[in-house]
Amino acid sequence: MSDTDTAKCKGNRQAQTVGSGTALPAEDGVEAALVGWLKQTLDKRVFDAVLVPVEVPAGDSFAYLLLRDPAILDNASPLPPVMPIQGGKVISRLTMRGNGNQQPEAARIAAVVRPCEARAAVELAKLQQAHLDNLYLITIDCPGVLPLSDYIEDPAAGAARFAQAAAQRDRSPMRPTCQMCNHFSMLPAPISDLHVATLCSDGTLSIVPGSPEGARVLEEMDMPVETSLDGWAAQVEAMEQAQTERRQQAHAELRQTVAGADRLLDVFSSCINCHNCQRVCPICYCRQCYFESDALKLPPENYMARAERKGALRFSPDTLLFHIGRALHMILSCVSCGACEDACPMDIPVGQVFSLLADRAQETLGYVAGERLDEALPLVTYEMEELGHVEQPYVAIYREQEVQDA
């Protein structure tokens, strides 16, 4: 990786200046305070709609609602204990067919999402699967989420466990990918239009403008941006550093358990080919997945030949090809949200493996998924001079023959 590549993937956070925000009292908790504020934005018509997770009527899960009636906001839960659907996917579904500009006055929508969901939305926008023009991304300091399977066993107990762990900043009950997450806070400008700073809040929460549009929202709400956030920024930086170390350590351990053909096949041996990981992945947007296409449905002769060559052939075949191939298709945009692992009925650590692959591959190509809107996707751009280690040098030993022939 050249120096320019390294410079490209670093220096984003340093460049942004998060000086101050607007403090909101939060005696009844962060969620209640944020919901109250969102209600005001709807009442004042600053936003025409709010996209926010709301507990489902049955009380055992959460779903994003595109809310236009402020009354329904009472049930909203901006920081739910689980992530049943990745918000990036929701934003893509909402905005894929346009940016709302067709209306006389473009509708302004606030999307309250976790940082990984906002990053997925950014990647989807780059992949032409979402339009973020009239969408205000409101990110929240994220404590992680519980594994879906843990939560649905007893939703009430899960919610209590989540609240306690979040208050203590304890990530151990969270999903493995959340435990090693190092992008849990505000995203570099201009991605987080507004960010809700809850860490280091001591009874208040702060709304931080990240983009000019976000600042304008606070202006329209008559909310002066005057609370200093140095304490919060220092806290976030320290936590990010600790989490990055934790991530590297987790990845090093993970590599020991997956590296090599035998261990890799052991990890994926219990796969039941349900392709849930692909269905829930925000980045896997293809209408026709290659791995469900006719390219992998072959005539019996093919299977017979492969069985002969290998002695036997597991059915359904191409399990490893599905996982490695899917990785090749999406790891450069992978935001390590862990939705795939949540959806796996066999508890395969697919989210952890993909986060390892993603970090290494993105480092190779000098890219960080979801960090910048103006940076091209790594496979649609190139530099003339780069990646020399990939090219196989033409070695002189095979030239002797050439000399003799001549």
């Binding site: 053909a261 041996s269 060559r309 290998k310 090809l321 191939g325 190139y382 003339m384 090219e391 070695v395």
Partner: protein, 143 residues
Amino acid sequence: MSEERSFEPKIIYFMCSWCGSGGSETAAAHHLQYPENVIPSRVNCTGALPAVHIVRPLIEGADGVVISGCHPGDCHYNDGNFRARRRVALVKSLLDTLGLESERVWFRYVAHGEGRRFVDTAAEFNDHIKKLGPNPLKTRSDT
């Protein structure tokens, strides 16, 4: 040594329509030979070669994959070889991380006139894979 002699690797040689295949034509014109276990496969441009097609043969029975396109600046489509280089870097990064021997994938430019270089690449890669030994994935039935 005897093992090395008895092991005949299966090698897929992806070459682009313009320079890689041109190199093989030049080799043919000069009656240059390359190992018979190297299976040539023409793609229109190495930049159009999906990453999955590099990995798929490695899982299903090939011992190595070698990819040849035009030299930098010579691509028939201007920048296909640069794009291919990025994609090969992606594949190699993934294989490295998973401990799947990224040296089983080679990427080397071969120009239209470089028949000798084409033949050398095939022979050198063949020897290289013989030294590496059989691909552990190709005998696994549970892929």
